[in-house]
């Protein structure tokens, strides 16, 4: 097992003088500030020599009092023997923020850096396509996540919709800012210049037989609003373009303006089919800041509910996907929804809510299990197990299913790691990466379960992995029900309103993969910064290169098998 101290000492010996403020929280967490000139070399060294091949994203932090920005590069490893997460801080002055880009080292740094750029205005030197990802073009330049952001121009009052007729005769609308707002400084005088999304697409049209088709943001294929454009020649896809941000809620910024406890409700809304794991991730990070021990019974309850939540998420993930390749009249998809209903009722009997539970609390859970829960749970799980086995068998035997799914959108294991795919998508390629094993939390180390992996990494494998994970989750819950002890469900310690200053990174295994939250406290009653490293955000990025050269129908089969949750990708 790699230890954070070893990582730090080998870094310090390789780069003397480049590292400052080292902090080792535990064997698995390491914080260190890196000179911005050296960051690329340090990351290269870590990737090549120390095995940190899993770039988990970067968080921009606005330290307005210190007049500097911080970019925190979160580095981890796909290797099961290395569960260290290293947070490398790169500091840059606030008046002219610029740090080197890591896109040359990590393919998947692309989106994370684009997001940090559009939200904080931090320039990434050497980034190939520094265009906005989440914000609309009109709002770029306001740098909304900076601490001195004054708010967007109010577009609801006054008659400010500008109608323009384009060359091909279509109407286009834009919003003009109010002169008073320009004066007040809420509208930036200068906006960054870059080609728009449409211009970038249309650059690639080479002949008359090619056209761009929109699959989204409103399309039967999309599980939530996102824009997937494909450049097609007949039925063949030549290139795909992805634009997200249609359901951006600014949750990370909102959480900075709410108390610590109120923040839990916002984590629900990131992805409502996996809200329990989102709760867990945020509460876990705050518990680390507080140094709280969660009572054993509460840990068991959390695991039971999170696994139930995983089952229902996988059922809807696999089920929704089936409608994409079989139409909404397809019966098994509705059977999965019916099966999911039983699981939802179970969760509801404990939490009182069907989707947005807000159930996990700092140092415990809100409610105890109701009477008779164990029996009801065992009964429902037995039924679900039978049905899931039936689905697995059904898909195994269906020839048309195999014609449509085998070798479609296949990812090689090394590509999966390189592009940063997460969860079942990564495990389908054969990589046994599961946060429950690699960076265990709650009581997972004591439980017996396998990490389900596939072999080919294609669409069929991804669905198969999900369905078999349901069986594994059932196994976990049954163990928990057998072993759950009596005791308090919340910690005895009083939770202070103000959380002591510090920072924590906590990761959990969401149904869609590794979810991490990087929480910073400045000692106040509100978080200073919450960075969410969403699993689907990571997986989403791998989609576009996969689609090239496919048939249009396979685009649907591939994108659908990712089990998308744009709500969580956009936050």
């Amino acid at each position: 097992m790699t230890n954070a101290n070893d990582v730090l000492s080998s870094l310090q010996s390789a780069f003397p003088g480049a590292l400052t403020e080292p902090k080792v929280e535990s064997e698995m967490r390491l914080w260190v500030a890196v000179d911005s000139k050296k960051i690329v070399d340090v990351c290269k060294f870590m990737r090549n020599k120390l095995g940190f091949d899993h770039y988990s994203g970067c968080a921009g932090v606005d330290w307005i009092a210190k007049k500097e920005f911080e970019v925190v590069e979160i580095m981890a490893s796909h290797d099961t023997s290395n569960s260290v997460v290293a947070m490398l801080k790169v500091k840059t002055p606030r008046d002219k923020p610029s740090v080197p880009s890591l896109t040359g080292l990590f393919w998947n740094a692309n989106w994370y850096e684009r997001e940090a750029w559009e939200m904080f205005g931090i320039n990434f030197e050497g980034h190939p396509e520094l265009y906005p990802l989440i914000l609309v073009d009109e709002l770029v330049g306001s740098w909304p996540w900076r601490k001195d952001f004054k708010g967007y121009p109010d577009t609801t009052t006054g008659n400010r919709i500008v109608e323009t007729v384009t060359n091909d005769g279509y109407l286009e609308y834009s919003v003009a800012p109010h002169p008073a707002e320009v004066e007040a400084g809420t509208v930036p005088k200068e906006r960054p210049k870059y080609p728009s999304f449409r211009e970038r697409e249309e650059r690639d049209i080479k002949s008359d037989s090619e056209m761009i088709m929109h699959l989204g943001p409103q399309h039967a294929m999309v599980p939530g609003p996102f824009l997937l454009d494909v450049l097609v020649e007949g039925e063949r896809v030549k290139k795909a373009y992805l634009d997200i941000g249609y359901i951006h809620k600014g949750i990370e910024k909102i959480m900075e303006n709410r108390t610590w406890l109120q923040g839990i409700t916002y984590t629900d809304r990131m992805c409502y089919v996996a809200s329990l794991t989102n709760n867990e991730c945020y509460c876990g990070a705050v518990e680390k800041l507080l140094g709280l021990e969660v009572p054993l019974r509460a840990q068991y309850i959390r695991v039971i509910l999170e696994e139930l939540s995983r089952i229902q998420s996988h059922l809807i993930g696999a089920g929704e996907f089936l409608t994409l390749i079989a139409g909404v009249g397809f019966a098994p998809w509705q059977y999965m929804i019916i099966d999911r209903e039983g699981i939802i009722s179970l969760i509801e009997s404990v939490t009182g809510a069907r989707l947005t539970h807000t159930f996990v609390r700092f140092g415990g859970v809100r409610n105890d299990l109701p009477e008779g829960f164990a029996d009801q749970c065992r009964k429902t799980l037995k039924y679900t197990e039978e049905r899931t086995k039936e689905y697995i068998e059904l898909f195994e035997q269906d020839p048309i299913y195999h014609m449509r799914m085998d070798n479609i959108g296949a990812i090689k294991p090394e590509d999966g790691k390189r592009m940063g795919a997460a969860g079942p998508v990564l495990r389908a390629t054969g990589v046994d990466y599961d946060v429950r094993k690699i960076d265990p939390y709650l009581i997972y180390p004591e439980l017996d379960f396998k990490v389900i992996t596939g072999t080919k990494g294609d669409s069929a494998d991804r669905i198969d992995v999900r369905l078999r994970e349901i069986l594994e989750s059932i196994h976990i819950i049954e163990q928990c029900l057998d072993r759950i002890p009596e005791g308090p469900i919340r910690t005895e310690a009083k939770i202070p309103k103000k959380i002591p200053a510090g920072e924590a990174y906590y990761r959990v295994e969401d149904p869609r993969g590794e979810m991490g939250m990087y929480v910073i406290s400045d000692g106040g009653d509100k978080p200073y910064r919450v960075k969410v490293r969403g699993p689907f955000y990571a997986t989403f990025q791998t989609l576009t290169p996969l689609l090239e050269g496919m048939y249009l129908a396979d685009v649907v089969a591939t994108a659908g098998s990712m089990d998308g949750c744009p709500s969580e990708a956009d936050r």
Partner: protein, 350 residues
């Protein structure tokens, strides 16, 4: 009863032109009613049966607990919606496409026998245009619908529609040929291209006499109807609604209705050609014995349609290249094999 028939036949022999005209007008009214009401019932039935497959209720509000008036509500909705034609559309083609499709449906309906009346030990087929080559005519008229769908997709000035139209045509070409060869095989065995005679000569159901032909015809029929697993031309998860994406209001209503009209007609065609048509034991009850062939045909058609709905709820959709592959590489050679088989068996039947 015999008196009435005699009177009618004497009138027919004295004034053949007027008789044909009267029969034509009555027949046109009847088939328009039968086909359209049938289609409405099929829409309702499909919604009910499909819901039943997945433990839902289906329509259950409008018109009592069976929701039978849902169709009326839908029809009113179609009629009252705004009639919009997209910017840049080929207006004439856009407007005519649903009409072409409807006309093609009626052309098919005209030549199809909807059953027979059993009077005095003899079957009197109920068919408006009893032409000599009706089997082939029906097959040809079915293809016109694909042209209508292509017109709709092509004229809409919409990328989804265009792809849907292309898919529809590619599929039509790949499956009309094996379907035609199957019709020829049936004709060889029945020694006639007339649908009435095909039924009359069908002592052994052709589904048993030429099983390969039956299966190929069934698959080609599902393809022609554009139902799962062959609904690529309107695969909603890929190309929104395919060729009819831009249609709304009653224009969409016509296109939508045509699919179910086709389902009725296609099922009848399948029953006529392969499942013994209206043949079945005569019910020995007065008056019921007259319509007993009708009852048999109706029952068979309902079973076929129920099967089509069942297929929809249990199969995945094929990709368009796989569909054409299947058509050209498997169905066409097999249908020709089936034709050879029919020639050998047919000589034995003769």
């Amino acid at each position: 009863m015999d008196g009435i028939i005699e009177a009618i036949s004497s009138f027919a022999s004295q004034q053949p032109a007027i008789f044909a005209l009267i029969i034509g007008i009555i027949g046109a009214a009847v088939i328009a009613g039968v086909v359209n009401v049938g289609a409405m019932l099929v829409i309702w039935g499909e919604r009910k049966v499909l819901s039943d497959f997945v433990q839902r209720y289906g329509p259950n509000r409008v018109g009592g607990r069976w929701g039978i008036l849902q169709l009326g509500a839908d029809a009113v909705k179609f009629f009252t919606k705004e009639d919009s034609i997209p910017q840049g559309a080929d207006r004439a083609v856009f407007v005519w496409a649903p009409i072409v499709v409807s006309i093609a449906t009626m052309m098919v309906a005209a030549a199809i026998p909807f059953g027979a009346l059993h009077i005095g030990g003899k079957d009197y087929p109920l068919v408006v245009a009893n032409m000599d080559i009706s089997a082939f005519y029906v097959e040809a008229a079915l293809s016109i619908m694909a042209i209508g769908a292509f017109m709709a997709g092509y004229s809409s000035n919409n990328k989804y529609s265009l792809l849907g139209a292309f898919r529809g045509v590619a599929r039509m070409i790949a499956y009309e040929v094996p379907m035609g060869v199957c019709v020829v095989a049936v004709a060889v065995m029945a020694h006639s291209l007339n649908l009435v005679e095909i039924v009359q000569n069908q002592t052994l159901w052709y589904a048993f006499a030429q099983p390969i032909g039956f299966i190929i015809f069934l698959i080609a029929l599902v393809t022609d109807l554009g139902r799962i697993p062959f609904d690529q031309s309107e695969a909603e998860e890929e190309i929104i609604s395919g060729y009819n994406t831009e249609y709304g209001g009653i224009r969409f209503g016509l296109l939508y209705f045509q699919e179910y009209n086709n389902m009725v007609l296609g099922s009848i065609l399948l029953v006529l050609m392969f499942l013994g048509g209206w043949h079945g034991p005569i019910i020995p009850i007065p008056l019921l014995d007259i319509i007993s062939p009708l009852i048999w045909l109706f029952m068979k058609v309902v079973i076929v349609m129920w099967g089509l709905i069942w297929i929809r709820s249990s199969l995945f959709r094929l990709r368009i290249d796989q569909v054409t592959d299947l058509g050209w590489k498997w169905m066409l050679p097999l249908s020709i094999l089936n034709l050879g088989w029919a020639i050998i068996i047919g000589s034995y039947f003769a």
